[in-house]
């Protein structure tokens, strides 16, 4: 027992150190080609005004967003997978991302959302522009989707298969509605709406980071408190109920919190795929599924992956950062395929 616990502590510690190191790498890499000493001086507020601004106003909010959203999306994926007893479940299983994309599209195309200043149906953008209007609309529709699905699934006692199927069905409705909306959009509106869906950490500000931190932090603390119940749930609903777990309430609270985390991250940063699938699977391989440790390690792995993807996206973009959502998906898709094929094993001829 002691060796198992020590191994987990050591792994968490190594991940923590890697996250800190990666955060500094991410902070010091960028298109302005600042030297390491300039970066350190700027971090201390002792470099030129421009350098100080780059570090404190551009890179640091971005690094914080990667730390928080990476942890949030990864843990959200883990909790979805445990609660739905489905290794392919993701933070967006309840159609959260599709709904958020619809909300953002509606804001940008129909109401000239101020976030990107590219609305096409209002003559004077300044009259309606609010830096958060697109994010607010995205969040509102994500929450509507969550409540709709959880409300429907309540009728069937949150049976995991029903939740997954309802998520697919409602998610496809949002996608269809987005397509119709985009069909009527102008070129400018359409391009702005499409660009919004690319996950981009560059949209983060200290204020959005704080909001994400509150939601993600509260969610992770709640998940850690419930971690022993998730361990029991791994043996199936019947066993979990028989050992005294209120599976219905546990599943409702867990799905709600993990979807809220996803909603807030997607609303502020756009769609960042696969973090919620890759990280829980890597941690499961490394540490097993004891949730107290796997939640902690998954959060750290999520931060690490998003920091790495963001650093990569800014290094590859030749001056302008590639969408981080595309990088995480490109890293994630082969992994996802590997899981699918490994799970199927050898098929009968």
């Amino acid at each position: 027992m002691i060796s198992d616990s020590r191994r987990k502590r050591l792994t968490a510690l190594i991940l923590f150190v890697l996250v800190v190191l990666m955060a500094f790498v991410c902070l010091f890499v960028g298109s302005s080609r600042m030297s390491l000493s300039d970066c350190l001086r700027a971090l201390a507020g002792k470099s030129t005004a421009a350098n100080n601004r780059i570090i404190w106003n551009i890179r640091l909010p971005r690094v914080l967003a990667a730390l928080i959203a990476g942890a949030g999306l990864a843990v959200s994926g883990l909790i979805m997978q445990t609660n739905l007893n489905n290794s392919m479940a993701s933070p967006s299983t309840l159609g959260v991302s599709n709904a958020a994309v619809f909300g953002a599209n509606l804001s940008i195309i129909a109401f000239a959302g101020g976030f990107l200043d590219t609305g096409n149906n209002v003559l004077n953008i300044d009259t309606v522009a609010n830096p958060f209007s697109t994010s607010i609309m995205a969040f509102v529709f994500a929450v509507i989707s969550i409540l709709l699905i959880l409300g429907l699934c309540r009728l069937r006692s949150f049976s995991p298969n029903i939740v997954v199927l309802a998520g697919i069905a409602i998610g496809s409705v949002w996608t269809a509605a987005t397509t119709i909306l985009q069909f009527y959009a102008t070129d400018v509106g359409l391009s702005a709406a499409v660009i919004w869906t690319f996950g981009d950490l560059g949209r983060a500000t200290y204020r959005t980071d704080l909001i994400m931190l509150i939601v993600v932090g509260a969610g992770i603390i709640a998940f850690l408190l419930l971690s022993r119940r998730y361990d029991a749930l791994l043996s199936g609903d019947a066993v979990a109920i028989s050992v005294g777990v209120n599976v219905r309430v546990l599943r409702f609270v867990s799905l709600l919190l993990s979807s809220m985390i996803t909603a807030v991250c997607v609303s502020f940063l756009g769609v960042i795929g696969f973090v919620g699938i890759i990280c829980p699977h890597v941690v499961k391989k490394l540490l097993g599924q004891e949730h107290f440790w796997s939640i902690s390690a998954t959060a750290l792995t999520g931060s690490l992956l998003l920091l790495f993807a963001d650093t990569l996206s800014r290094s590859m973009g030749n001056g302008s950062a590639l969408p981080v959502g595309a990088i995480t998906s490109m890293l994630g898709a082969p992994f996802f395929i590997a899981i699918i094929f490994r799970k199927g094993g050898r098929s009968d001829a």
Binding site: D4, L225, R228, G236, A238, V239, V243, G244, V245, K284
Partner: protein
């Protein structure tokens, strides 16, 4: 004393699965439910453990209705080893510890850990306690499932199809383990099993179920050709060998 009184349950009201089940089982005895697939055995077990809610009736343990208890209270009385056992990627120790969930809110106490260590030692699982359950053999996994149930420190152990996918050696290992739990610890064990010869070896009291009711109950004396034919629709012969009853089936008589 475990008593089931007039228990009625149906997934839809028109076709009840259980149509007024009555049974009683004394402390430290092994009761075996027998009957064809779909007779309602697993449904009865799921009601006992709180997985399903009955339409009417009661389940009493020493006069207290299990159905009126909180989940936590019931978990301290009834433990369940289901037919289909799933495990996560946890060690044996962590898996057995999940049996203590009803005893603490956030973190297991030192006494919870002591109970787990005692159970692992009693069930001779100490050597594999740090191993991933998914790496164990079928028999060892079944033992882990029993150990988790025992970690609840229950008064009643509900054991659905304990020997389902096991070879004969593991089958006997598990049956003997369950008998030991009943006879040495005084825990009431209620189980279901399809092999009638194994059932006679395993159980003290037998309940033959058909169409959602218990048709016949009693000691091993109840096994005869007529009841086997009535319940299973199979022609059988009960012979005695070395003082033990053995049931032989006419292999072409299954309906």
């Amino acid at each position: 004393m475990l008593e089931v009184r007039d228990l009625v349950f149906g997934y839809d009201r028109q076709n009840p699965v259980l149509k007024g089940v009555n049974l009683s089982l004394e402390e430290g005895r092994v009761g075996i439910l027998l009957g064809r697939n779909g007779a309602g055995k697993t449904t009865l077990f799921k009601i006992m453990t709180g997985v399903l809610k009955p339409d009417s009736g009661s389940i009493l343990y020493n006069g207290k209705d299990l159905l009126q208890m909180s989940r936590r209270e019931r978990a301290g009385i009834v433990a369940y080893v289901p037919q289909q056992i799933d495990f996560g990627a946890l060690t044996v120790y962590q898996t057995v510890l999940t049996g203590r969930v009803s005893y603490y809110t956030v973190k297991p106490s030192a006494s919870d850990l002591k109970v787990v260590e005692r159970i692992l030692s009693e069930m001779e699982l100490e050597d594999v306690s740090c191993r991933n359950v998914l790496e164990l053999s079928g028999g060892e996994r079944q033992k882990v499932a029993i150990a988790r149930a025992m970690a609840q420190e229950p008064k009643v152990l509900v054991f659905d199809e304990p020997t389902g996918n096991l070879d004969i050696a593991n089958e006997l290992l598990i049956i003997n383990e369950a008998k030991k739990i009943a006879h040495e610890k005084g825990i009431t064990v209620i189980s279901s099993i399809h092999d009638l010869n194994q059932a006679m070896y395993f159980g003290d009291v037998f309940f033959f179920m058909k169409d959602g009711e218990i048709k016949v109950s009693g000691g091993s004396g109840v096994f005869d050709e007529k009841i086997i034919n009535d319940i299973y629709g199979v022609a059988a012969r009960v012979v005695e060998s070395c003082g033990e009853k053995i049931i032989q089936y006419h292999k072409e008589s299954g309906k």
